[in-house]
């Protein structure tokens, strides 16, 4: 899967799971604000990514990922390492 396809797939997945307009998801937009995440729904972000891409993001590492571009890089690197 090339990077653009991966990003498009991830954005659609997150838009559906967190019920936001996919157009609001940009590389430089803040994950927490865009997806309206609270301390509990962060767990769902980890779960939906793990279920779809087989990549588990430890909670502490997720906290370091502030914007979507960081999330894309993190997951895509893990996919490529497989």
């Amino acid at each position: 899967m090339d990077r653009d396809t991966f990003i498009e797939k991830l954005n659609e997945l997150l838009a559906e799971e967190f019920e936001v307009d996919v157009q609001t998801i940009h590389p430089d937009s803040t994950i927490k604000i865009t997806l309206a995440l609270d301390s509990l729904s962060f767990v769902d972000l980890i779960a939906v990514i793990e279920n779809e891409f087989g990549v588990k993001i430890p909670g502490q590492e997720l906290k370091e990922l502030k914007v979507f571009s960081q999330l894309y890089d993190y997951i895509y690197d893990k996919i490529e390492q497989k």
């Binding site: 967190f18 019920e19 309206a36 609270d38 509990l40 729904s41 962060f42 767990v43 769902d44 980890i46 779960a47 793990e50 279920n51 588990k56």
Partner: protein, 399 residues
């Protein structure tokens, strides 16, 4: 009041079903594929709350919390309790619920398959706790008074209203959201099916639930949610609430006997206590909404208890479970709502499928057809596994 059941998605729809004796029971082929002895069930859709409740709140809600949300929204609206009033007063919450099987089964399945607890998601813990309905309603409606789930098996919803009436009587709360909710998914009642408690009259689903009928062969599981707002007279008058009726009696007892087989003594004591607490003569009771679930022993012993306690007088006795099936944790509340709808609209719903009495039900006045009649007071029985019994008496409000 508010309700969401197999008879309708709101009070108007439910009133029509009750009036016309319409059954909400179907044959569910999925249950047959799952190995159920009986695939009969009440049928209702799980409400789609997208657009009404946020995604982050909806993930905490199992189906019974969704039913309860719809019923409570209707009840608050009818009671003219808006969010501003709720935010500035300590409104309580007592709701009956006694299972969360679907949520528990799904989380355990995920843990077993994935070996990763994160994958059960953020909502699983809140859906899996027995207090899930009160947790959800308390947060969604921002209620600030007592917040407690009442788990009393199939009498849960009745005990919730009874206990609420005591808290108000004692001056500890002015207004309480009371009710009962029941999940309808197959997992929740698979083990119940396993003990041969359900009717197997699968060829004729709407005829399967036959309370008091000689040929009854078991209950049919149902569910949904029903909410009533109970309030002190002073509080209701002060805010100009539409007062519908008064809870004038609450009786309770425990059989101290068998796990699943009801006796006559326990229900009799609950009935007698309720009449005593209400300070009414038994002849003031026009209608008894019986617990009668359509099981051979349960109906027989309730018929004996009613006949004994009401000796010398025959109020109308009927069980709405003929139409709804057994709504279990919800039943004690929904049957107050059903009876209230009848009292408001001058009819008593038919005990459909009552074709032939047995020797015990022959002692009661059970109408197979609807009665168009005015009445001012009714009694509602609810009994549950473990021998818990609850009885309520409700009187039409007059100034």
């Amino acid at each position: 009041m508010g309700v969401y059941s197999c008879l309708g998605k709101n009070l108007d729809e439910v009133r029509e079903s009750l009036y016309n004796g319409k059954s909400g029971i179907i044959f569910d082929p999925v249950r047959k594929e799952m190995g159920f002895r009986s695939a009969l069930t009440a049928h209702l859709e799980i409400p789609d709350l997208k657009g009404q409740v946020s995604r982050n709140q909806r993930v905490y809600m199992p189906e019974q919390a969704k039913y309860a949300y719809v019923a409570t929204t209707e009840a608050l609206r009818n009671a003219r309790l808006d969010q501003d009033y709720i935010d500035s007063h300590e409104i309580g919450l007592l709701y009956g619920n006694d299972s969360t099987a679907d949520a528990v089964v799904k989380s355990v399945d995920t843990m077993r398959e994935k070996k990763d607890t994160t994958l059960v998601g953020s909502g699983a813990i809140f859906q899996s706790m027995n207090s899930t309905v009160t947790m959800n309603l308390g947060c969604l409606f921002r209620l600030k008074g007592i917040n407690l789930t009442v788990s009393g098996a199939c009498a849960s919803g009745s005990h919730a209203i009874g206990l609420g009436s005591l808290l108000i009587k004692w001056g500890l709360q002015d207004c309480i959201v009371c009710g009962g909710a029941q999940e309808v998914n197959p997992y929740s009642i698979g083990s119940f099916d396993g003990i041969n408690a359900f009717s197997t009259r699968e060829s004729d689903p709407t005829k399967a639930s036959r309370p008091f009928d000689r040929d009854r062969d078991g209950l049919v599981p149902g569910g949904g949610a029903a909410t009533v707002i109970i309030e002190s007279y002073e509080s209701a008058v002060k805010r100009g609430a539409p007062i519908l009726a008064e809870v004038i009696g609450y009786g309770f007892s425990s059989n101290g006997d068998h796990m699943s087989v009801p006796n006559v003594d326990g229900p009799s004591r609950s009935l007698e206590m309720c009449l005593r607490e209400a300070h009414v003569d038994k002849k003031d009771i026009a209608y008894i909404n019986a617990h009668a679930t359509s099981t051979p022993v349960g109906d027989k012993n309730e018929a004996k208890a009613i006949a004994n306690v009401f000796e010398g007088y025959k109020p109308v006795v009927a069980s709405t479970k003929a139409m709804t099936g057994h709504e279990m944790w919800m039943a004690g509340s929904s049957e107050i709502v059903y009876s209230m709808l009848m009292m408001q609209n001058d009819f008593i719903a038919p005990n459909i499928n009552f074709e032939n009495p047995d020797e015990d039900s022959a002692r009661l006045n059970i109408p197979a057809k609807r009665l168009d009649t005015h009445f001012d007071m009714f009694l509602s029985n609810s009994f549950g596994f473990g021998g818990t019994n609850s009885t309520l008496i409700v009187k039409r409000f007059t100034k």
